[in-house]
């Protein structure tokens, strides 16, 4: 039975036939079971410029980085970097010769910059920074919430190379009455009523000397699915602001009330964006700064470890909107914490590796916990947050191991 026949035959034909057909293909496909209900996913390698990725959605693409990639280093390879698009029409053919970045709105001199002009007309700038989806780890929320059902792999760290947004805005000359800057990429919906994907930041934020327009990622052009040819990089802020295929920079004289700022990507204005399920009357604000997180990368839940043997437990951490101050490990359910050894600091906003030697002296079940404290003194919380968008999870991670 074929897809085109479905409408005509759905009532008459049993679904068993369909399942049988798909099941045969399933046997050959690599799968992963993410740690939540309905968490079985395919591992696919058929997306352009991408290696093996966890398939969350084929169209528009949502691809999660398999977590073992994070054990291979603090920079996430481009071909394994997660992917998240909102709108159905993702351009698949980009001609750099005709591409232009427009800077317009409340500016003295509107610009239309070719890629050559952007690359050679401004001082190059580089920064390592974590790009993390607002809804990373949404699948782990309890109670569950609808949305992209990610485990922890909707994040990555890259060395971004490009130009400072400040320099580009100064070239255009921001008008004195400007308050926000709105960013838009080349992707569109397929229905006229679908709002274009646009995000805005304050002028002051845009001119902080860190927000940048990246034309390289880890020493190469960006993969198309990560935003070729240009992507906004907003260090320390969630990825919803990191507009891919950046095409338009529009300076506004009033706060942006477009759908994606005023209705979507909103969080409760409470500590940790945390509310009780069903709680009413909470003020909502656009999601913004990231919060610290840390993860184990070389141990898995339920793993068996021989007692008496020295091992190294290790992982990654990031400070959110600032650097990592320390990463601590607990082996007693969070009663006591020992600082781990931090790897090289390759940038305030990037991943930082951590490691600690560890030896268990007797068999039994053990629970390991890891906690990051950032340089502002913000620590990961012991209890998981909850909100209806599934945003900003950063609870202390724990792993149960079986010492044999």
């Amino acid at each position: 039975m074929r897809r085109r026949d479905f409408l005509a035959n759905a009532g008459a034909c049993g679904f068993a036939g369909l399942l049988g057909g798909f099941g045969r293909r399933a046997a050959a496909a690599a799968e992963i079971e993410l740690p939540f209900t309905n968490g079985r996913r395919q591992i696919v390698s058929d997306f352009p410029q991408k290696g093996a990725m966890i398939l969350q959605r084929t169209s528009p693409p949502l691809l999660e980085t398999p977590f073992e990639v994070f054990d291979q280093g603090i920079f996430t390879p481009n071909e394994r970097f997660y992917v998240r698009w909102h709108l159905a029409n993702v351009p698949t053919d980009i001609d750099p010769a005709s591409f232009r970045l427009r800077v317009h709105g409340h500016v003295r001199r509107p610009l239309s910059l070719s890629l050559e002009e952007l690359v050679h007309g401004f001082e190059p700038f580089e920064m390592a920074a974590v790009n993390q989806c607002s809804g990373n780890s949404r699948g782990l929320f309890t109670p569950r919430v609808a949305g992209g059902e990610w485990a922890n792999g909707a994040m990555g760290n890259a060395l971004w190379r490009g130009v400072r947004l400040r320099d580009v805005l100064d070239r255009a000359g921001v008008a004195p009455n400007a308050v926000q800057v709105r960013f838009q990429g080349l992707d569109t919906g397929v229905i006229k009523e679908t709002p274009n994907f646009m995000k805005s930041l304050t002028v002051d934020h845009c001119r902080d000397g860190e927000v940048m327009i990246a034309y390289q990622m880890n020493g190469a052009h960006l993969p198309l699915l990560n935003g070729f040819p240009l992507r906004l990089v907003v260090p320390g802020w969630f990825a919803t602001y990191w507009i891919k295929m950046l095409e338009s920079i529009e300076v506004l004289d009033a706060p942006d009330d477009n759908y994606w700022m005023s209705k979507a990507y909103l969080i409760p204005d409470t500590p940790g964006a945390n509310v009780v399920p069903g709680q009413q009357g909470v003020r909502l604000v656009p999601i913004n700064r990231m919060v610290p997180r840390s993860f184990f990368t070389n141990l898995k839940e339920g793993q068996s470890i021989a007692h008496g043997r020295a091992l190294e437990v290790r992982g990654i951490a990031f400070g959110g909107d600032t650097g990592v101050a320390r990463v601590s490990l607990s082996v007693d359910g969070g009663e006591s914490w020992q600082d781990t050894r931090l790897g090289a600091d390759r940038g305030t906003y990037g991943f930082r590796s951590w490691s600690s030697p560890l030896r268990f002296h007797a068999p039994g079940k053990q629970r390991l916990m890891v906690r990051c404290v950032n340089t502002s003194g913000v620590a990961q919380p012991r209890d998981a947050n909850w909100n209806s968008g599934g945003y900003m999870r950063n609870v202390i991670e724990s792993i149960g191991v079986n010492v044999t």
Partner: protein, 254 residues
């Protein structure tokens, strides 16, 4: 099993740290790499919703914007929760789903007990075998133009009985190659959807195959399309980076 008695955290200086042994951090290029044109093909999903009352609604309206996997990977949701999600799709994103179909769709989705789709059937971007026009239609065209070729009122025009489809082959080829946006009139009705370009998603043989299929379905009796015609039209319209502007552009192609 708490307490440090059964284990020890060895806070010794680690020999050969992980950071030092991890792959080298990327090195920035000393000279900027050349800006070559980038053309990619995205795989298409051919996943279906499980049979049941409401599956037809899901196939007609959900797949316009996203593949079925998005729905089938959700956690269990109540009928009320699905109603809220479906209404958000209608009001926030403009899903052309009639109001009276919200309730049966919500009932159907909340009744799916096991939704997981471990192996999503997909149309490979490239296949060694000769292109299968029907399979390409299913993965690339059906979500908007529908399995019966009738499209969706006001948004996506019909392919069945459409003169844009059954007219000169070059016109239909140009539409598939470059896409269409803005108002388009078909058989006296107007449509406002957006059709993307398939110039990079499909090669000449695939466009010829899917158009030959569409031109012979649902009572259409137009001739097949030769891949050579697609190659000719691809070259002739190569400079066009934006879709055709509906009636304004396409009337001149008739």
């Amino acid at each position: 099993m708490r307490g440090a008695a059964c284990l020890a955290l060895l806070m010794l200086a680690a020999r050969g740290s992980w950071a030092a042994s991890s792959p080298q951090a990327p090195q920035a290029a000393s000279s900027e790499p050349a800006w070559d044109r980038l053309t990619v093909q995205l795989p298409a999903s051919a996943a279906l919703f499980p049979a049941g009352d409401g599956a037809t609604i899901a196939h007609s309206y959900c797949l316009v914007c996203h593949s079925a996997g998005m729905v089938l990977s959700q956690p269990p949701q109540s009928e009320a929760q699905w109603t809220a999600i479906i209404n958000k799709m209608r009001t926030a994103y403009g899903a052309p789903l009639p109001a009276e179909q919200v309730a049966p769709l919500a009932a159907y989705l909340s009744g799916l007990s096991s939704m997981s789709t471990p192996a999503e059937p997909r149309l490979p971007a490239r296949r060694g075998a000769p292109p299968d026009g029907a399979a390409i239609f299913e993965a690339r065209c059906l979500p908007c133009h529908q399995g019966n070729g009738n499209g969706l009122p006001g948004v996506f025009p019909p392919l069945a009985g459409s003169s844009w489809v059954t007219g000169p082959g070059a016109t239909s080829v140009r539409i598939v190659l470059r896409g269409v946006r803005d108002r388009l009139t078909v058989n006296g009705n107007t449509y406002q959807g957006v059709m993307p370009s398939f110039a990079s998603a499909l090669d000449d043989g695939e466009i010829a195959a899917v158009l030959s299929y569409v031109r012979g379905q649902w009572g259409n009796h137009a001739g097949t399309i030769d891949p050579a015609l697609v190659a000719t039209e691809r070259a002739a319209t190569a400079a066009r980076s934006a879709p055709w502007n509906g009636d304004q552009d396409l009337e001149q192609l008739r």
